[in-house]
Amino acid sequence: MHVDVALFASLSTFQPDGAGGRHARAFELDAGTTIAQVIETLALPDQPRVVFVNSRHAAEDSELHEGDRLAIFPPVAGG
Protein backbone atom coordinates (compact mmCIF):
# COMPACT_ATOMS: atom_id res chain seq x y z
CA MET A 1 0.00 0.00 0.00
CA HIS A 2 1.01 3.62 -0.55
CA VAL A 3 1.52 5.91 2.50
CA ASP A 4 3.01 9.41 2.64
CA VAL A 5 5.36 10.05 5.55
CA ALA A 6 6.36 13.53 6.77
CA LEU A 7 9.02 13.96 9.43
CA PHE A 8 9.34 17.35 11.10
CA ALA A 9 12.30 19.29 12.51
CA SER A 10 15.24 17.15 13.64
CA LEU A 11 13.54 13.96 12.47
CA SER A 12 13.57 15.04 8.83
CA THR A 13 17.14 13.78 8.39
CA PHE A 14 15.89 10.24 9.02
CA GLN A 15 14.02 10.12 5.73
CA PRO A 16 15.48 7.30 3.60
CA ASP A 17 16.79 9.74 0.99
CA GLY A 18 18.73 11.60 3.70
CA ALA A 19 17.85 14.90 2.08
CA GLY A 20 16.02 16.38 5.06
CA GLY A 21 13.10 18.73 4.66
CA ARG A 22 9.63 18.37 6.04
CA HIS A 23 7.85 17.42 2.82
CA ALA A 24 6.26 13.99 2.78
CA ARG A 25 7.90 11.06 1.01
CA ALA A 26 5.97 8.21 -0.58
CA PHE A 27 6.42 4.82 1.09
CA GLU A 28 5.32 1.42 -0.20
CA LEU A 29 4.34 -0.68 2.82
CA ASP A 30 2.82 -4.08 3.39
CA ALA A 31 -0.85 -4.10 4.34
CA GLY A 32 -1.25 -4.07 8.10
CA THR A 33 1.98 -2.17 8.75
CA THR A 34 1.75 -0.20 12.01
CA ILE A 35 3.09 3.25 12.77
CA ALA A 36 5.51 1.68 15.26
CA GLN A 37 6.95 -0.49 12.50
CA VAL A 38 7.54 2.56 10.30
CA ILE A 39 9.27 4.29 13.23
CA GLU A 40 11.46 1.23 13.75
CA THR A 41 12.31 0.98 10.05
CA LEU A 42 13.31 4.63 9.94
CA ALA A 43 15.38 4.14 13.15
CA LEU A 44 13.93 7.28 14.68
CA PRO A 45 15.66 8.23 17.94
CA ASP A 46 13.94 7.56 21.25
CA GLN A 47 12.80 11.10 22.02
CA PRO A 48 9.44 12.74 22.78
CA ARG A 49 7.25 12.79 19.69
CA VAL A 50 3.63 13.03 18.62
CA VAL A 51 2.05 11.20 15.73
CA PHE A 52 -0.80 12.14 13.42
CA VAL A 53 -2.47 10.30 10.58
CA ASN A 54 -4.47 12.42 8.16
CA SER A 55 -4.18 15.36 10.61
CA ARG A 56 -5.77 13.45 13.49
CA HIS A 57 -4.20 11.94 16.59
CA ALA A 58 -2.92 8.40 16.11
CA ALA A 59 -1.54 5.80 18.49
CA GLU A 60 1.78 4.27 17.47
CA ASP A 61 0.35 0.74 17.57
CA SER A 62 -2.36 1.53 15.05
CA GLU A 63 -2.27 0.19 11.51
CA LEU A 64 -1.82 2.38 8.46
CA HIS A 65 -4.09 2.23 5.44
CA GLU A 66 -3.79 2.91 1.73
CA GLY A 67 -3.46 6.63 1.07
CA ASP A 68 -2.76 7.64 4.68
CA ARG A 69 -0.53 10.59 5.45
CA LEU A 70 1.63 9.94 8.51
CA ALA A 71 3.24 12.93 10.24
CA ILE A 72 5.66 12.68 13.15
CA PHE A 73 6.56 15.77 15.13
CA PRO A 74 9.18 16.02 17.94
CA PRO A 75 8.50 18.92 20.32
CA VAL A 76 11.64 20.56 21.74
CA ALA A 77 12.18 22.00 25.21
CA GLY A 78 11.73 25.64 26.21
CA GLY A 79 8.84 27.63 27.54
Binding site: A9, V50, F52, H57, A59, P74, V76, A77, G78, G79
Partner: protein, 207 residues
Protein backbone atom coordinates in the same frame (compact mmCIF):
# COMPACT_ATOMS: atom_id res chain seq x y z
CA UNK B 1 -11.31 45.42 29.66
CA UNK B 2 -14.13 47.92 29.57
CA UNK B 3 -15.67 49.05 26.32
CA UNK B 4 -13.66 52.25 26.57
CA UNK B 5 -10.32 50.51 26.96
CA UNK B 6 -10.88 47.49 24.72
CA UNK B 7 -8.70 47.13 21.63
CA UNK B 8 -11.65 45.50 19.85
CA UNK B 9 -14.11 48.11 18.56
CA UNK B 10 -16.54 45.61 17.01
CA UNK B 11 -19.05 44.69 19.78
CA UNK B 12 -19.71 41.23 18.33
CA UNK B 13 -16.03 40.34 18.24
CA UNK B 14 -15.53 41.86 21.69
CA UNK B 15 -18.36 39.72 23.04
CA UNK B 16 -16.83 36.62 21.49
CA UNK B 17 -13.52 37.20 23.28
CA UNK B 18 -15.31 38.13 26.50
CA UNK B 19 -17.21 34.83 26.50
CA UNK B 20 -14.16 32.71 25.71
CA UNK B 21 -12.42 30.40 28.18
CA UNK B 22 -8.73 29.72 27.72
CA UNK B 23 -6.68 27.24 29.74
CA UNK B 24 -2.97 28.04 30.03
CA UNK B 25 -0.78 25.10 31.06
CA UNK B 26 2.36 26.60 32.54
CA UNK B 27 2.79 30.15 33.82
CA UNK B 28 6.44 30.77 32.98
CA UNK B 29 8.00 32.64 30.08
CA UNK B 30 5.23 31.76 27.68
CA UNK B 31 2.19 31.36 29.89
CA UNK B 32 2.57 34.47 32.03
CA UNK B 33 3.02 36.69 28.99
CA UNK B 34 0.27 34.98 26.99
CA UNK B 35 -2.14 35.47 29.90
CA UNK B 36 -1.42 39.20 30.03
CA UNK B 37 -1.81 39.61 26.25
CA UNK B 38 -5.08 37.67 26.18
CA UNK B 39 -6.46 39.76 29.02
CA UNK B 40 -5.43 43.00 27.34
CA UNK B 41 -7.16 41.74 24.19
CA UNK B 42 -10.45 41.11 25.96
CA UNK B 43 -10.33 37.44 26.99
CA UNK B 44 -11.45 37.53 30.62
CA UNK B 45 -11.82 33.89 31.67
CA UNK B 46 -8.50 32.12 32.12
CA UNK B 47 -7.46 28.92 33.85
CA UNK B 48 -3.87 29.32 35.06
CA UNK B 49 -2.05 26.06 35.74
CA UNK B 50 1.38 25.87 37.37
CA UNK B 51 2.98 24.21 40.40
CA UNK B 52 6.05 26.40 40.72
CA UNK B 53 7.06 29.51 42.65
CA UNK B 54 8.59 32.72 41.32
CA UNK B 55 12.39 32.70 41.33
CA UNK B 56 14.85 35.52 40.72
CA UNK B 57 16.03 34.01 37.43
CA UNK B 58 12.46 34.12 36.11
CA UNK B 59 12.47 37.91 36.08
CA UNK B 60 14.47 38.18 32.83
CA UNK B 61 11.53 37.01 30.73
CA UNK B 62 8.45 36.23 32.80
CA UNK B 63 5.59 38.50 33.85
CA UNK B 64 6.67 38.66 37.49
CA UNK B 65 8.28 41.23 39.73
CA UNK B 66 11.01 41.21 42.36
CA UNK B 67 8.55 41.55 45.25
CA UNK B 68 6.81 38.35 44.03
CA UNK B 69 9.88 36.09 44.43
CA UNK B 70 8.95 33.01 46.44
CA UNK B 71 5.22 33.25 45.77
CA UNK B 72 3.22 30.71 43.80
CA UNK B 73 3.27 31.65 40.12
CA UNK B 74 -0.47 31.17 39.78
CA UNK B 75 -1.23 33.56 42.64
CA UNK B 76 1.41 36.12 41.70
CA UNK B 77 0.25 36.14 38.07
CA UNK B 78 -3.40 36.41 39.10
CA UNK B 79 -2.55 39.42 41.24
CA UNK B 80 -0.86 41.13 38.28
CA UNK B 81 -3.66 40.25 35.86
CA UNK B 82 -6.27 41.67 38.24
CA UNK B 83 -4.32 44.92 38.30
CA UNK B 84 -4.82 45.02 34.51
CA UNK B 85 -8.47 43.97 34.62
CA UNK B 86 -10.18 43.71 38.03
CA UNK B 87 -13.08 41.97 36.35
CA UNK B 88 -11.06 39.03 35.08
CA UNK B 89 -12.42 35.58 35.93
CA UNK B 90 -9.33 33.57 36.90
CA UNK B 91 -9.31 29.94 37.94
CA UNK B 92 -6.05 28.90 39.58
CA UNK B 93 -4.80 25.31 39.47
CA UNK B 94 -1.67 25.12 41.59
CA UNK B 95 -0.37 21.65 40.88
CA UNK B 96 1.98 19.83 38.54
CA UNK B 97 -0.19 18.70 35.65
CA UNK B 98 -0.12 14.95 35.04
CA UNK B 99 -1.51 12.60 32.45
CA UNK B 100 -4.10 11.51 35.04
CA UNK B 101 -5.67 14.92 35.59
CA UNK B 102 -4.83 16.92 32.47
CA UNK B 103 -8.02 16.36 30.53
CA UNK B 104 -10.38 17.00 33.45
CA UNK B 105 -8.50 20.22 34.19
CA UNK B 106 -8.75 21.69 30.68
CA UNK B 107 -11.94 20.05 29.41
CA UNK B 108 -14.07 23.21 29.65
CA UNK B 109 -11.70 25.43 27.69
CA UNK B 110 -12.47 26.80 24.24
CA UNK B 111 -8.74 26.88 23.48
CA UNK B 112 -5.81 25.31 25.33
CA UNK B 113 -2.35 26.90 25.46
CA UNK B 114 0.58 24.55 26.09
CA UNK B 115 3.25 26.67 27.80
CA UNK B 116 5.43 24.19 29.68
CA UNK B 117 9.18 23.79 29.35
CA UNK B 118 10.13 20.11 28.92
CA UNK B 119 9.77 18.23 25.64
CA UNK B 120 8.36 15.22 27.48
CA UNK B 121 5.52 17.21 29.04
CA UNK B 122 4.82 19.00 25.77
CA UNK B 123 4.50 15.64 24.01
CA UNK B 124 2.22 14.32 26.75
CA UNK B 125 -0.05 17.36 26.54
CA UNK B 126 -0.22 17.26 22.74
CA UNK B 127 -0.82 13.53 22.71
CA UNK B 128 -3.64 13.54 25.29
CA UNK B 129 -5.37 16.72 24.16
CA UNK B 130 -5.44 15.77 20.48
CA UNK B 131 -6.65 12.28 21.42
CA UNK B 132 -9.28 13.09 24.07
CA UNK B 133 -10.33 16.62 23.12
CA UNK B 134 -10.19 16.52 19.33
CA UNK B 135 -12.58 19.44 18.95
CA UNK B 136 -10.67 21.81 21.26
CA UNK B 137 -7.86 23.71 19.54
CA UNK B 138 -4.47 23.35 21.20
CA UNK B 139 -1.77 25.97 20.62
CA UNK B 140 1.65 24.61 21.49
CA UNK B 141 5.16 26.07 21.28
CA UNK B 142 8.28 24.30 20.06
CA UNK B 143 11.54 26.08 19.33
CA UNK B 144 11.96 29.50 20.92
CA UNK B 145 15.41 29.37 22.56
CA UNK B 146 18.64 31.01 21.50
CA UNK B 147 19.73 34.02 19.45
CA UNK B 148 18.61 32.99 15.95
CA UNK B 149 16.45 35.42 14.03
CA UNK B 150 13.04 35.93 15.55
CA UNK B 151 11.72 35.85 11.99
CA UNK B 152 12.12 32.07 12.10
CA UNK B 153 9.37 31.87 14.69
CA UNK B 154 6.08 31.22 12.95
CA UNK B 155 2.61 29.83 13.63
CA UNK B 156 1.35 26.90 11.63
CA UNK B 157 -1.43 24.36 11.80
CA UNK B 158 0.14 20.91 11.98
CA UNK B 159 -3.06 18.93 12.50
CA UNK B 160 -6.81 19.51 12.68
CA UNK B 161 -6.78 20.98 16.18
CA UNK B 162 -3.06 21.53 16.67
CA UNK B 163 -1.33 24.85 16.06
CA UNK B 164 2.44 25.04 16.61
CA UNK B 165 4.38 28.21 17.31
CA UNK B 166 8.16 28.36 17.05
CA UNK B 167 11.04 27.52 14.76
CA UNK B 168 10.49 23.83 15.70
CA UNK B 169 14.21 23.27 16.34
CA UNK B 170 15.86 25.63 18.88
CA UNK B 171 16.12 23.49 22.01
CA UNK B 172 17.25 24.57 25.48
CA UNK B 173 18.78 21.10 25.84
CA UNK B 174 21.36 22.17 23.25
CA UNK B 175 22.58 24.82 25.67
CA UNK B 176 20.58 27.64 24.11
CA UNK B 177 19.41 30.33 26.50
CA UNK B 178 15.94 31.77 26.80
CA UNK B 179 16.16 35.38 25.69
CA UNK B 180 13.31 37.69 26.68
CA UNK B 181 12.92 39.08 23.17
CA UNK B 182 12.56 35.68 21.49
CA UNK B 183 10.35 34.31 24.27
CA UNK B 184 8.12 37.34 23.89
CA UNK B 185 7.90 36.87 20.12
CA UNK B 186 6.78 33.29 20.66
CA UNK B 187 4.35 34.37 23.39
CA UNK B 188 2.86 37.00 21.10
CA UNK B 189 2.48 34.44 18.32
CA UNK B 190 0.78 32.08 20.75
CA UNK B 191 -1.61 34.71 22.12
CA UNK B 192 -2.39 35.95 18.61
CA UNK B 193 -3.09 32.44 17.35
CA UNK B 194 -5.53 31.95 20.23
CA UNK B 195 -7.29 35.23 19.46
CA UNK B 196 -7.57 34.34 15.77
CA UNK B 197 -9.03 30.95 16.66
CA UNK B 198 -11.58 32.55 19.01
CA UNK B 199 -12.51 35.06 16.33
CA UNK B 200 -12.81 32.25 13.80
CA UNK B 201 -10.37 33.83 11.40
CA UNK B 202 -9.78 31.77 8.30
CA UNK B 203 -6.40 30.13 7.86
CA UNK B 204 -4.27 32.00 5.40
CA UNK B 205 -0.96 31.41 3.70
CA UNK B 206 0.91 33.31 6.42
CA UNK B 207 0.04 30.56 8.87
Amino acid sequence: MSEATSCMPDPELRARLRAARVAIIGCGGLGSNVAAMLLRSGVRTLTLIDFDTVAEDNLNRQMFFRDQIGRLKTEALAETLLRIDPGADLRLVTSRISSADLIDTVRDADVIAEAVDTAETKAMIIDLCTRDLPEVPLVTVSGLAGYASANRIATERLADNLYVVGDLESDIRDGLSLLASRVMVASAHQAHAIIRILLECEDDKDE
